[in-house]
Amino acid sequence: MQAREDLSNAMVEVRGLTRVIRNGDRSVEILRGISFSVGKGEVVAIMGASGSGKSTLLGLLAGLDTPTGGDVLLSGVSISYMAEDKLAQIRGQQIGFVFQSYQLIPTLTALENVLLPFELNGNGEEREGVARAQALLASVGLADRMHHYPVQLSGGEQQRVALARAFVARPPIILADEPTGNLDTINGEHVLNLLLALNREQGTTLILVTHDAAIAQHASRIVTMRDGVIVSDSLTGAV
């Protein structure tokens, strides 16, 4: 099936995106003019072999990096060349990110890690934030591990904390970079199911980077990349 391109309802829009890394005399073209869009509520998987540029693309979608050329629009607003503080605001209010290597702050407990986006963005009362964080941790099965530090949690448990953190501020967009990449099969499946369940519950737009075709099949659409370009963009038929 061919990809739909409904630009009028686009949550995320990418236009001619390029990213070149320079180090001394050498330069590497990681992305070479990527263009696509994602509608509200879609679940999109971005697939490709290692080095295809998919993680870089995800970072640019989140405003974590600056493109060399092209643009990224979130809800119609261009973010690629925004000032850093404004970008931080976008990240805090519109995007939840799940990293491959969890990226929890080691000096904070699980609860404190989940609470952090809420505190940083001043969204509502503290009590409300704590209640939501606790509820999210309970929903990912970590009710009894709230006060543990990341070093005291297994990989799967850490990723579940990262999931809860991504959803605590109720962002409209979730970006997940190889969320099961560092996990064994059982934990990976569990985390993926939790991610998809939370996504359904909250009606977020989910863009998921993976090299695993089995995981990609859970998405409603697969965008395949190779050598910095999109080679295919098709619907899977999944709901």
Partner: protein, 851 residues
Amino acid sequence: MAALRWSSAWKISTRELRAARGKFLFVLLSVAIGVAALTGVRSFSTSFRKTLLAEARTIMAADISARMAAPPSTVEQQQLDTMMQSGMKMTPVTETISMASAAGSVNSVLVSIKAIDPAQYPFYGHVKLQPDAALSTTLTDDSVAVAPELLTRTHAAVGDSLRLNDKNFRIAAVILDEPDRLSNSMAIGLRVMMTQQGLASTGLSTPGGSSTRRYLFKLPQQNEQAVAAAKASLEKILPEALITDYRESSPALTQGLDRATDLLSLMSLVAMVLGAIGVGMSMRAHLQQRMDSIAIMKSLGASSTQVMKIYLLQTLLLGAAGGVLGVLLGLGVQITLPLILERLMHIAPAFHLQPAAMATGFVTGLLTTLLFTLPPLLDIRSVRPASIFRRAVESADGASWAQRAKQHQLQIVAGVVLFAGLAGIATVLSDSALVGRWFAAGLAITVGTLLGIAALLLLVLRAITRRTGLALPQVVRQGLANLYRPGNQTAAVLAALGTGVMLVASVFFLQHAIVSDLRLSSANNLPNIFLLDIAPDQVDGMRALLAAQPGVRGSAEMIPAITAHVVSINGVPAHDVKLKNFPRHMLQRVQLSYSDTLPPGTRVLQGTWWPAGTQTAQLAIGPKTAERLGVQPGSHIVFGVEDQRIDAVVSTIIKSDGQHGYSRVEFILPQSTLANLPVMWFGGVHVDPPQVAAAQRALYAAYPSVTVIDVADAMETIRTLVLQITRIVQFLAAFSIFAGIVVLASSVAGTRYRRLREIVVLKTLGATRARIAAIFSVEFAVIGLLAGSIGVVFATLLTRVLLPKMDIDFHVQWRAAGLTLLLAMVVTNGAGWAASFRLLGQKPLQVLREE
């Protein structure tokens, strides 16, 4: 954007502290040690200085002395009365000479009478009498206390009568020690102390006689500013009086105190900066470890401002906690140091709680923490969230220096603010404006130069390793490569360590030079017996007698003295010349002396000393005399000696240490100028105190006409005080140096986190612990060598600038420099390994999980 509430920022920042207490210990200790050294050194030096100055006052027995020919006029007395209403006390001391004889004896001796008010005199110190009793109860209007030599000469004893100008006085006691013995003029005659009324009853103190008056003043406040203000007031009220304060009574002691103050000021500043370096290095290392967390926070929506808020609060908390701990440690130093000194060195400075010093220490600790964490805090702005994905450091894309400067303009401004802040703190902290000024400027220039040199050295290292290629052993190659790999902070580490070594070495070099100089002025062979009225034909015989006398150290100093009067100054007759607080009548009788070589204990301040055999009439005088007479090099003073005139040109301004015979002479000329003029001699020699009495008896037996003045006790007081200064300086310098080494070591140790991943990867690839240890040892050794070399060179330069300003000769201290360099390498290696050795023994995964 919804702002990050301060309460939320506080919570986040304190959570980090709670979770990683051990890692914050370095920062806390750096601040605490710096503040402790600053508070302890500063408080203790203030207490010690107060104690020493209190002792120094006993040498004059007052705060201020005014020497006058006549009593104050009515107007002058009214003005003095006004000053006394503010609490100032005043007491007269009248001195004159006369002949005295024991009752029943026809032999009379020349005596030097000192009439005092026993109810007030002395204001400081006390007169030791035998039999032991208070002066106020011993002396009455018809009794006297006398020097022991007088009893020897007159064959009298306590209880006998002494006749003075047809009046009999009972000898009530023997004077064993007189606090202001050194302050008196070198009047010939044996000491007799009596009351003012007693002297008046003899008729010897009538106007127009040979008596001189001194007025001693005691101020209600004994700080140096009050003394200076009172002295200025008295100089206005009594323009004909010679006014001196207690600091001038012993130049050696004053000089020693001033130098100690300069050095202690420097130590305070060094302690502050070392603590700040430790804080800066620790915070930099701490924030570098936090880069991942900072990137995560930014990816979660935190702005740079919000993240900086969090870490600024952390910094303030660490600075405040370290400051409090440091103040408490400093208080501990202040309390225990006197106890240690009393036990080890028999010095007992009084303990004075110094709230001002404690507050200053705390505020300084907090301010320097904030200042030195400003640059690493600003680096937070440049942390890119993308670093989560990509650990490799992207180069600056060929940006020019101007572009890079623009990119880092806030850091540059922060650096300027940092040095301006340091300069301000140094100015406030320093008791010595000289030290404060040079310190701030020197530090700014040094750090800037160090950064440049460090960067250059790394470029040279890189060039060397590229050229040598695989010829170098792998261990050396990798160790050197570690220094200039991307993301390394070697230039900053070198600059920080080099600055630290410079400061510690400066303290070491300066205290070494100052202590050597102090030892000269506290040598135990300085004259403590003065001999007056030696005839020219007695000089050689006197020398021989003293050389053979037990207890005599070194050879006697014999100084020629020619009595003269001043005819004119710069063509203006003496009775018209404008003088500054110099009694005009003193121009009528001055002592000239001659020497063809620079006298012992003397240094040239302006001009040069004449070559031996000079025939021209040149003149060397002290700076105070020059100021009072209104002369400078090139001025003419015409002296009259009998019917001869000597037109001398002021060629040299000299400064005497006050401990040698020539320090008693105001005017020195070449020998040829005073040839064939009537000369009497006076001399000085050191006799061990237990042998003084025997020496006096021998001298009297051989030369009964020569007056012997025993100032052994007074000289011993000065010597002891100067020795105390020496020991305190050494002790506090050692303390500061030790504190500095600890701070530098912790700074080196703070860089260990950088090596963690490297150790883990190397172990994974099969490197043995010995090989890894060798690689890092090369890195540590090179850092230590470079930082040590830079630091020693700059310390030598700083010493070169400061020592001449303290009137101390500068010499390169090669041995000390070598030792400092070696110590820098040892400390760097030792600290690096003390902090990192456990990493070698642990499993890689375990370390990674904990980090």
